[in-house]
Symmetry: C2
């Protein structure tokens, strides 16, 4: 099922692979809308000044220039392709605040572009699916509990329906870590986070040494490392942290909120979420809860779904818009699974019935049969050519079309998988529900 | 309903407007899939060499450059954003021919970009919906009949469902015109087409004069003008053309095929399609049948859906891929109608029920109610704050959410439009089907 991708970093799917992607996107849309998220799309471009708003551009951006423009003259209104859906969403909220009702719940499924050097699992064009809830000046903490549950619900539906591997979402909290460090008397928690982030890569000894370099050693360093090793599937992480004997108001807040997230997930998504205080990377970026998600058994693919809380997603000086959200890397998750043949569609077309054509003179009759079937929601094609029936059946077979219709409105329908053929009326016949839509099948080890 | 669009030419929709667009895209998808078209998406970029493949670039292309690249060094692998879906589709067919079954029927709904000067009805980013059928070396003429019927079916569904104005599709044929000109002894039909194209703009006299300039005058010029004025809703155009007394094999072919298109449309889309031999513009580009479509009463918007037959959509030297297709300008059709408030959604969120929260201690109960409702496909939100009930009802009202739930699993549900409130069980209650999905309403004069 794998195929040539001549433009490196720009994955394209074959029709049967796209049917899988459509199925996944439909499940996401259905789930998000069941939770009251409304869809928006933002334009693909933002002014470069907006993309570089935070002073630093750590993403490789594709800059646009009109073909007729002089490349040597710099354009003050230069546009770039968006590299995520968060920056455009923040801009959209500011621009349309007067037309939106807060808290505003939106989902957004679009492509984003990064001019990075392509490598395994990295793309220059890829699809993301984001959900966010944004408040006006304030946003209640229970939305930090809600957001991961919505994404877990969508991923669980895919797990149940097509055998997508189960996920494990790891959750941490900036208040918790920052409160803990401040409780130890540390004034620069960011410097600690940077070093703790390397724990998995360089090990305890090296991290301890790098903490010593910024004046943190002995018992404090040991406690920092101990905190980062706390990981529990239930609320017991609270006691484990308490046992380290550190006190701070922020720590209390962080523990309470993370306990709520874990507790709610145990009820509605048991086994899919853990408190994991080793997460440090996201804490630099987000200001509260942070989420990272792996496909169990496919951890090497990295996090497929990440997000967290921003105290200020956007601000116009007068009003601040705090938000909490999570993003699913649709391409990042699907493209490798499709390339490996782990997920496939039962056919390469939506078609359920091919109406055979006896001769070109009766094509009109075949078209009438097709219309009758379509009027009841049955995807139908008329055979392109009045070939011998055997050839028309092969035409259906090559595409995985399950049924071939012979004759007119009162005709016969053949299930080409079993060879069964029976009289049928085009005004009444309906295939089994399983055949009505394309099936998505998983081939997991 | 109109809103600020600070980046000229890049229209963005408010949530309620996007709900209308989603509805329209769903109807398109459903219709195309009922006819056995499979969806594909192509990457947003193509090598500039591909975009300029035909030697001339008459579109304004957005060229990409990586931020870190030196703008003064020209890149041989330069990429540009696609300006239509035909060029990328042709490339996709060539690239994947070995994996596709022909005739290949695909639909494609994506954004395209043109760096044009923005003006009324012209956008720099807009959504197109294309259907095409592509053959390998040959493609039967009956697909020229099929393609317009599929698009007309989708547009008719929108007309019936939400009162979108009826459409009129004008169809002509290159063989017909070319055969007619050749039958008159003219060797350069293209030069004639260019001049006839101006008929509506500059009138008969000026066109006659411009024909005289290329040596065509008197009776021939009169016949050319007469041909361009033939327009019939039935097959009578054949007799009108025959009455002009011109004979040519190509003319016969063109008349026969156009008659088939008109005849099939009279049966399945009565009143929606006419033979209109004034169409000349498309004939330069396409090689057979051509289609143009207007919204009746909104003709000033121009053609919302155009297409035609290519004898060679793509070719790799060995194999030629003829195709016939039609494209719907989704943004071109919708954005002006949305801005004028002609189409609107019944609410600005998918949500059917807001579950009120009595106090923060019982939020868990409210979440359980919401889960029960969602499990039966009812889009539900839990109130963000345990405000006074009046305030929670206003929260629903502002978004157009029709129902508010009070109490737990055995609670009460209020229709806030009528004020009716009744006891209900979250395990059993279901709203009327009309409320289950967002309604799209037309406000036509």
């Amino acid at each position: 099922m794998s195929r040539i991708r001549p433009l490196s970093g720009f994955p394209e799917l074959l029709p049967a692979q796209r049917l899988v992607e459509q199925y996944v996107l439909d499940v996401l849309r259905e789930t998000f809308e069941l939770h009251g998220f409304v869809n928006i799309e933002t334009r693909a471009v933002e002014p470069m000044s907006q993309l570089a708003r935070k002073g630093e551009i750590d993403k490789e951006i594709y800059v646009l220039r009109r073909l007729s423009a002089d490349p040597t003259v710099s354009d003050p209104d230069e546009l770039g392709l968006h590299f995520d859906l968060t920056v455009p969403f923040a801009r959209y909220v500011l621009e349309n605040a007067g037309h939106l009702a807060f808290p505003f719940r939106r989902y957004q499924i679009q492509k984003v572009w990064r001019g990075e050097r392509p490598q395994e699992g990295r793309y220059r064009e890829f699809t993301q699916a984001d959900i966010d809830i944004v408040g006006e000046n304030a946003l209640a903490a229970h939305h930090d509990v809600e957001i991961p549950l919505v994404m877990l619900e969508a991923l669980e539906k895919l797990h149940v329906a097509v055998g997508l591997p189960p996920v494990l979402m790891r959750v941490s909290n900036r208040q918790l870590a920052e409160g803990f460090y401040r409780g130890l008397g540390i004034e620069e928690p960011a410097a600690v986070l940077q070093r703790v982030d390397k724990l998995e890569k360089i090990g305890v000894e090296a991290v301890t040494q790098s903490l010593a370099e910024i004046g943190i050693d002995g018992e404090k360093a040991a406690k920092i490392v101990a905190l980062a090793r706390v990981r529990t599937a239930d609320e017991s992480f609270v006691d484990q942290v308490r046992a380290l004997g550190v006190e701070h108001e922020l720590l209390d807040q962080g523990l309470a909120l993370l306990r709520e997230v874990v507790s709610a997930a145990r009820e509605t998504a048991p086994g899919r979420l853990v408190a994991d205080l080793s997460i440090a990377r996201g804490l630099d970026y987000y200001t509260g809860t942070v989420y990272e998600t792996q496909l169990v058994g496919y951890e090497s693919m990295g996090s497929i779904s990440s997000g967290g809380r921003y105290d200020s997603l956007a601000s116009d000086g007068k009003t601040t818009y705090p938000g909490v959200g999570i993003s699913l890397g649709v391409s990042r998750m699907l493209v490798p699974l499709l390339a490996k043949g782990k997920l496939a569609a039962s056919r390469s077309v939506p078609t359920v019935v091919l109406v055979a054509v006896t001769d070109e003179e009766t094509r009109g009759e075949a078209m009438a049969v097709a219309r009758a079937l379509r009027s009841r929601g049955i995807s139908t094609e008329v055979a392109p050519k009045a070939d011998k029936f055997g050839k028309q059946i092969r035409h259906a077979d090559r595409r995985g079309i399950p049924y071939v219709w012979f004759g007119g409105m009162a005709g016969e329908v053949k299930d080409i998988r079993t060879g069964d053929q029976a009289a049928a009326s085009a005004d009444a016949w309906t295939p089994p529900a399983d055949d009505l839509t394309v099936g998505i099948v998983g081939a997991w080890d």
